[in-house]
Amino acid sequence: MATTTLLNTQKKESRWGMTKKNVIWKRKDLLGLEDLSADEIALILDAAKSFKEVSTRKVKKVPTLRGKTIVSLFFEPSTRTRISFELAAKRLSADTIGITANSSSVLKGETLKDTAKNIEAMNVDVVILRHSTPGAPHLLAKVLGPSIINAGDGAHEHPTQGLLDLFTIKEKKGTLKNLKVSIIGDIAHSRVARSNIWGLKKMGADVTVCGPSTLMPVGIERMGVKVTNDLDQAIEGADVLNVLRIQVERQKKGLLPSIREYINLFGINRQRLKNAKDDMLIMHPGPINRGVELTPDVADGPCSVILEQVANGIAVRMAVLFLVTGGKE
């Protein structure tokens, strides 16, 4: 059985993980990284390491989830995350269906709960949900039997993105402990920032958030991060820069005077990186506004691991699907 093989591989490669403990995955759902323990995060990252190899095979498929049905319900536009989940499920041999809906259809008639109940009645095993409202997946997890995976709920959490960022950093740096990670940009509206902060803090990293004061949410320092408005300070000594997408609409809402001024203060170009560590990683959850938060030479430069994040996303999502459907170590 492929599952057994995978687990054996995992055991052989235990040096990748933390010292082996008997961590057992018990959760039905993956709603956020806030709820997870460091051991649970390590378990996912370990499993992802094993699954990463599958995508490099000639036949990119294992029978692990054969006979399982996975529905992805996207109430917000997404390309990367949706495709990544879909490929992850398919490479595990699950049957997948993707539904994209406008969240306004909720207001028109059927409630999210009703939609989900209908899907449940069709005996699905996993529901992957992307929704503009924080807590939407938590609402479903309370009422549905199938596993719920949060693929982004408003500005709250995006746990698989957080996990793939952690995976990428760990793969490159060997560990997360004591690493200095700076997250740059629109912290207030970013679910990526929040999931990264929870995950990184639990794994012992040192996190700084940097952005304009109008995009810095109240009390963020209580999440255990350093806060700065000075990009140079955030870059100096950092092992990783995780650069967030800046949405042009923020200007219209009075949060930024102009994108031009944003670029001057927080845009990352080669000049701004002159005091950076040589081996500093540049990450971005995508899609990139080239020339805004990152200049093209930096986005495509030697420090950039942006495309590796995308590749790792599939492995991490395979691991998550495997674990929530009952995979045990």
């Binding site: 909720v106 409202t133 924080p134 609402l139 709250h156 929040r194 963020i220």
Partner: protein
């Protein structure tokens, strides 16, 4: 029907009376209050160990009729109020149509009269359709029976209109009840803006969106000399402003609601929309400040802001759920369990903030257990332990954050104009 209430412990701040007394009710009035009354009565209530308060008056409630009879009707609302010990209820004007003319006010009063349950006191709108543009016909509203005016739920955004409203209401000696919210500052918000909203990635409504309008309205009240009543105060900043205004002699009164005294924004972490209201639940610091303000008299009134919503509207994603919770049937229990039992205020203070003060602010001849007063009486067992169950809710809507909560203190009888409503 004569009622003899035996040996209850009376709190009657209007007559500076406290202690064990008997009360004889006859022809809808309190006939005698004395130790050991010997009289024949068709109904005798043994009130040993019970707390007797002047009938409670809720200054801030939504009965939804006319317009949203699916969520609440005057009948179900007033039944729920009686069940919670309220002998009088102020109905906020945000109905459809809005209570901005005498027809709607008269409709409400007529309906309540036919029902013969709790007293209903309509509150008229400050502006037509509560749009904040043109003053409503306040004199007509007053003549039709409105006891105050408010654009409840909407802050009057135009400062000049608010000034004129205060001036005009002052002429009529009507209090203006202000929902204080700068809707530009609170735009799209669904909860208090603070650490918890940051953690949850939810759009916040900062405390300053309330206090900035409290400050404006206090200035306008001072300028016009009018009486202003600040609705559902939720944050420390507003309290500081109100306290200073009172010290200065500005004619301001204020209210808060039981939920602001016992719940904080931490509860929103459950994503349960029964913790979603406007103003939002704020921080522990605000909660403590409200308790202190209740104690020092900065807060004059506890109202419920009873706001029924049907389940299918409330049981959705947090962002999409409407603001508000029901409160008639839990107000006394919450105050008894978490405020009086914890010695924050006494039952005598409860008589003031839930009966005597509302009557005084609204100019009602109520809130007293004196001989000759209307027989509006609330009888509470302060020691009874009970669990608030969804199936037992009298209100048509069930949107309460207190379902399943164990309480100590329960309303046993509510007497309105001499009619007794057993629980």
């Amino acid at each position: 029907m004569d009622i003899l209430i035996k040996d209850g412990y009376i709190y009657d701040p209007a007559n500076r009376r406290e202690g064990n007394f008997d009360i004889l009710v006859s022809c809808g009035k309190i006939k005698t209050v004395a130790k050991k009354i010997k009289a024949q009565a068709s109904k005798v209530i043994d009130a040993r160990g019970k707390v007797i308060l002047p009938g409670l008056i809720d200054m801030h409630a939504h009965l939804r009729e006319p317009g949203r009879e699916d969520a609440e009707t005057i009948e179900t609302g007033l039944s729920a109020a009686l069940s919670g010990g309220f002998t009088g209820v102020c109905a906020m004007p945000n109905t459809e149509p809005c209570c901005h003319n005498q027809e709607v006010a008269e409709f409400l009063l007529k309906k309540a009269q036919v029902l013969g349950k709790a007293n209903l006191y309509p509150i008229g709108a400050i502006t037509k359709n509560r749009e904040g543009k043109e003053l409503s016909e306040m004199s007509e509203l007053k003549n039709a029976g409105c006891v105050a005016i408010s654009d409840d739920g909407n802050s009057v955004k135009d400062t000049a209109i608010m000034r004129r409203a205060l001036e005009y209401a002052h002429m009529l000696d009507m209090p203006v009840i202000s929902h204080c919210e700068d809707t530009d500052l609170s735009a799209d918000g669904v909860m208090h803006e603070g650490y918890i909203s940051t953690e949850m990635g939810m759009k916040g409504m900062p405390a300053v969106s309330e206090s900035t309008i409290v400050a404006r309205d206090l200035q306008l009240a001072e300028f016009t000399g009018a009486r202003i009543h600040i609705a559902h105060v939720s944050c420390k900043e507003s309290l500081d402003l109100i306290r200073a205004a009172k010290a200065k002699g500005i004619r301001v009164t204020s209210e808060t609601c039981p939920h602001y005294l016992v719940l904080t924004d931490e509860t929103v972490k459950s994503f349960d929309s029964n913790f979603k209201m406007n103003p939002p639940l704020r921080t522990e610091e605000d909660m403590k400040a409200l308790r202190a303000a209740l104690k020092d008299g900065t807060i004059d009134v506890i109202s419920t802001d009873h706001a029924p919503h049907i389940e299918s509207e409330k049981d959705v994603e947090f962002n999409y759920a409407p603001f508000g919770i029901i409160g008639f049937e839990t107000a006394v229990a919450v105050i008894s369990t978490d405020i009086v039992s914890k010695n924050i205020i006494t039952w005598n203070d409860v008589a003031e903030v839930m009966s005597n003060h509302p009557a005084h602010i609204l100019g009602l001849d109520k809130g007293s257990l004196g001989e000759g007063s209307d027989a509006d009486i609330t009888i509470i067992d302060p020691d009874e332990e009970w669990v608030y169950k969804r199936d037992e809710i009298k209100s048509k809507s069930k949107n309460s954050p207190f379902i399943g909560r164990k309480f100590k203190g329960r309303v046993k009888h509510t007497i309105v104009n001499g009619d007794i409503f057993p629980i």
